[in-house]
Symmetry: C2
Subunit: 352 residues, 2 copies
Amino acid sequence: MVVVLRGWIVRQRDAAAQWATLVCAAVILAGCASAPPGTIADPLPSWKDGANKAAIIKLVQDTTRAGSPDFVPPSERIATFDNDGTLWCEHPMYVEVLFTRDRIRALAAQNPGWRNEMPFKAVVDNDEAAMAKLTETDFFKLIGATHAGMTSVDFQKLVADWLATNKHPRFNRVYTDLTYQPMLEVLAYFRANGYKTFIVSGGTLDFIRAFAEKAYAIPPEQVIGTSFDASYTFTYDVAQTRAKPDVMLLDDGPGKAIGIDHYIGRVPIAAFGNSDGDLAMLETTTQSPTSRAHPRLAMFVWHTDAAREYAYDRDTSVGRLNVGLDAASRHSWRLISMKDDWKVIFPYELAK
Amino acid sequence: MVVVLRGWIVRQRDAAAQWATLVCAAVILAGCASAPPGTIADPLPSWKDGANKAAIIKLVQDTTRAGSPDFVPPSERIATFDNDGTLWCEHPMYVEVLFTRDRIRALAAQNPGWRNEMPFKAVVDNDEAAMAKLTETDFFKLIGATHAGMTSVDFQKLVADWLATNKHPRFNRVYTDLTYQPMLEVLAYFRANGYKTFIVSGGTLDFIRAFAEKAYAIPPEQVIGTSFDASYTFTYDVAQTRAKPDVMLLDDGPGKAIGIDHYIGRVPIAAFGNSDGDLAMLETTTQSPTSRAHPRLAMFVWHTDAAREYAYDRDTSVGRLNVGLDAASRHSWRLISMKDDWKVIFPYELAK
């Protein structure tokens, strides 16, 4: 919420617009469902009017209005969000992969064997051809090595420090500046109406938790991510849990359905993704045996804006949306066109 | 909250007491921290006055009073509770073990090989001597077999049906009647003051989720339990996640510290257990490197009341509290004596 309002208030240039903004901000804070008819409240000001914006507002209104046939009790109001490419920019490369690359290189001196061991060798040697051939299993082996032996607190500190100092190659901004303003508004709008918002990411728990509370106001207990087995020690009266390199939950693809079942234990009312890695999350949302008990909304953020961000779907290895494009029309999932649906992409555009 | 108030209101016999009850209920609903001095609000009416009751109230007041040096922001207010023996009766046998025994027998006809395979054979043959020798690994093999191939929804339905029809051998009540009234009040009191209450149980996720929302007002996303790996299928446009028999997280002993790290990602402010299986949870609460940032409270429910419930600690195989008794004095954890600290044990006593 703070994130949404900060940039947004700065954007206004004249007093009338500021007044309108403050009224609208107050309405959002009070919960938009309670705004009387005729007010200017727009819970999604960075969205252009259209079918997608209307579908989000209709779902929230229908599921929260007392007496509505589609009313959903507050305890069942769950909305899930992929992170990479759905809440923040993932091109030209997933941020955690870049962090992992730097971390592997930093750890290489302590691990001389890596010079002769794939997939580590590819990263240590900066062998771009070899790196391009790494599989998802390879990546999680690399990512596992960065976690191994670390406590959550220490790993999150490494991530926070890295995020504070590394910038996106095109936008020349830290990555936490590259969240999507329209999606921040969606998060805030759901929460203002009693929804719990969860991240369901292929990224690791502690990578996401390092910034999710500040960037999205999503607390650590509402982050589901790839996790590693761990060992617990109690030595000299100090309790510590340290990661092992073995994946416990691979929270991508089918793992997102499993993660939702394990961490949430309910079918979400709404789910937002952007790639084939989100298929199972969207299927679970709209196609579970119990889905019909309530309205459901499943949406893909569709990267259609090469000018303001990136344009990609079927032909990329980072955030590919291929099977999902076909599934979307079959299951009446909605495609959010970044080019056509969003007035702005990043929060900092509002301050211009 | 409903659970607490239901039995409690019924208990009152005369109009004056009813009035006091309703005032107190209103204060609890409004959040006890805001009760003006001099009111009769008692957030823990089933607790006898004493050091343990005072310690709980002090923690909640100190961590929620604006301007308090020990103030904890709402997002960090986490309290964790073991289930068996902490929130409900676990003697003479863990309820999930009894359910599992019945379930294994029901499945035996479809699994003829079990007649010759331990640990299944012990249960199918009702061989009490063999059953007494089963290890925790054996139990989780049995429990895994009851979960295998099941969806969460179907498994929870089996549990709910079993709980609705099976009664405790001594109290002749369904097991969900055998929750501890004083602990229901603790749960409600923490929640009324902005705490999120989590169950952290060695029992399985879906066993606990089958009754936790109704019995404790704890939603499924705040249940941490032993979990199984799963497989996801999307067939004929139906999304289903089915358990495998392989344990993913053994949420007992050290696994409770790991479960808290994975599911919550914060050090709890308060933790309640009753057995050595809760040691790591209590250690994590008070002895983590970050524990000193806030006040912490760790308590064991100590089963000292053979007349009203059971008396056991060091010499039982069900809920043994041995190492924990020594650790409690070393780490200033508190022992809640059921005999001395609790006016009543079960909610139905209030209706007498």
